[in-house]
């Protein structure tokens, strides 16, 4: 099987400051890769660099699109933006960053559909209802504005907005950050269901080991902009080799 996304020796500096350094990643179809590390370890820089939000200084990002491999850093901007709104999806930590707050929930979900040329209101409406159902938002809220939604609902709406065009690769930056524990559990449940049901390939960034353990197949542990350890999720978390990973694992609160 071919990896759907592979990243080689990716570097991103902010002046002299290291954003992330020598990062590698291989993502196979249907796989979830988790990136963990403390605040400032370069997780977000890394995910932004591989998803097109930031331009990395050097490295290689290969994306498999059906029949050809695309070098994400060398393609034209128009193709890049087309990929970003069709094949790729980005779920922000703060759903307000990924949604249009002055457009109704349905309008938010429909944007990607219309940007790829769907022009039938009835069909679009049906797809919206299908996705509201999938992310467990009541259908009666379809015409409400996102600002009337709770934090958890906003996050589910953002997920629906991103998944509506069936993207191949989904990037998530702390998708459950800032949510209370029960809502977090619900979102995680939903994400796990969607990942299995739709065979999604996901790169997920989180500082929360529990989130990663629940969702991810593979894990990358970052510190000071570098990957200090990587491997199968259970293996790394159950038998951490690097001292930083050991610290991370041992500092999880046991209730």
């Amino acid at each position: 099987m071919q990896p759907i996304l592979s990243v080689h020796n990716l570097n991103k500096y902010y002046g002299n400051q290291v954003g992330c350094k020598n990062m590698n990643l291989t993502l196979y179809p249907g796989e979830v890769v988790g990136v963990v590390g403390e605040s400032g370890s370069g997780k977000t820089t890394f995910i932004n660099s591989i998803s097109g939000n930031l331009i990395p200084d050097s490295g290689k990002i290969l994306i498999e699109t059906g029949n050809e491999k695309i070098n994400f850093l060398e393609i034209s901007e128009s193709l890049k933006r087309l990929l970003i709104r069709t094949e790729l999806a980005f779920v922000h930590q703060n759903p307000r960053d990924g949604l249009r707050l002055d457009v109704s929930a349905g309008g938010n979900i429909s944007e990607r559909l219309m940007s790829i040329g769907q022009r039938n209101y009835g069909n679009i409406r049906q797809t919206i209802f299908k996705w509201l159902d999938k992310v467990e938002i009541d259908k009666s809220r379809v015409d409400d504005f996102p600002r009337t939604f709770s934090g958890g609902m906003l996050q589910r709406l953002q997920i629906a907005k991103n998944l509506v065009t069936s993207p191949k690769i989904i990037f998530m930056d702390e998708p459950t950050g800032g949510l209370d524990v029960s809502v977090q559990a619900k979102i995680l449940d939903l994400l796990r269901k969607l990942v299995r049901e739709l065979n999604l390939s996901v790169v997920i960034v989180s500082h929360d080991l529990a989130v990663i353990r629940l969702l991810a197949d593979k894990i990358i542990v970052m510190k000071n902009g570098e990957a200090v350890e990587s491997g199968l999720c259970d293996q790394v978390l159950d038998d951490p080799q690097h001292s930083y990973t050991q610290l991370l694992v041992s500092s999880v609160l046991q209730v």
Binding site: R81, S110, E111, S115, I116, R119
Partner: protein, 293 residues
């Protein structure tokens, strides 16, 4: 500067009433700059060409863009008509007509068919335009994406890459809120199957008239410093959905003066009881129908 004046078209050196003005107010260098922008705009239908808009002796919002475009197109042979919401006799129309009378000393008319340049605020004349006529629109906000995407850099990119999905989000919202597309003026169009364009705040009733029009259509936005254009016989389509097609609706009434069933109507409250009357917004069209009857 002197060079330019020396080579200036002989015809354009005229005896104005008030010789302190250059022909049609603007200096020749400025007109040349605007003509360049106009030619570029005509070559790329619907594309917004930046130009360095001048201070005009009227406030922004009164048609400074349109006046600069008209001024750059005028020759001494031209006959100009100015309309404001279809009418020849409203403040904006009268003052701009007088402005060109004074600064260019050219013939003016109220008859659509006799005008070679028509400057308009928010209407297209009812009478069909012909080849060799120029219609100049006054545009307040040239960017159709402005209300959806406030970042100008981003809208430029969206135009360049034809990323117009968001435009339909607006129409989608209209339908969900009102059951139909509520946008009634400044209804977005696609020009020559490429650029999405704001037709300026004309009623959507006028949108079909832009399509395949034999006249040249020029758009000037003074404050926003943009010029765009539709060359003659260019395809202009109004955006819509397959199941909610574009509808150039009009008030279901007749003009109470000329009885026209076809023209765009203004609604007027005629007494303290709130009684209404509908009359043609195009005064010249209405008058001519009365004369002919």
């Amino acid at each position: 500067m002197n060079n330019v004046l020396k080579f200036k078209n002989k015809k354009n050196t005229f005896a104005a009433q008030d010789e302190i003005y250059n022909f049609a107010y603007l200096d020749e260098n400025t007109k040349r700059m605007i003509r360049r922008a106009l030619i570029k705009a005509l070559c790329i239908p619907g594309y917004q060409v930046p130009f360095s808009s001048r201070e005009m002796p009227m406030p922004y919002g009164w048609g400074t863009g349109g006046v600069q475009v008209t001024s750059s197109c005028l020759t001494t042979d031209d006959v100009i008509k100015v309309i404001d919401q279809g009418a020849d006799d409203t403040t904006n129309a009268v003052s701009i007509r007088n402005f060109f009378k004074k600064t260019a000393n050219i013939e003016t008319t109220e008859k659509t068919s006799q005008a070679s340049i028509i400057q308009t605020r928010h209407r297209i004349p009812e009478e069909k335009l012909k080849e060799k006529q120029i219609l100049v629109y006054q545009v307040p906000i040239p960017e159709p994406l402005a209300f959806l995407e406030p970042r100008y850099q981003e809208t430029k990119k969206m135009h360049a890459l034809s990323e117009y999905g968001i435009m339909h989000v607006k129409l989608y919202e209209d339908i969900t809120k009102n059951g139909h597309i509520e946008t009634a003026y400044a209804y977005p169009v696609k020009t020559n199957d490429r650029y999405i364009m704001d037709p300026s705040p004309i009623p959507k009733f006028d949108n079909p008239k832009m399509n395949n029009n034999p006249a040249i259509q020029l758009f000037g936005a003074g404050r926003e410093q943009r010029i765009y254009a539709i060359p003659p016989y260019t395809e202009v389509t109004s955006l819509d959905f397959e199941d909610y097609p574009f509808d150039p609706s009009k008030a279901p009434h007749k003009c109470s003066i000329c009885g026209s069933n076809e023209s765009f109507l203004d609604e007027i409250i005629i007494d303290d009881e709130g009684n209404r009357s509908f009359i043609c917004s195009d005064t010249n069209y209405c008058n001519q129908r009365m004369e002919n009857n």
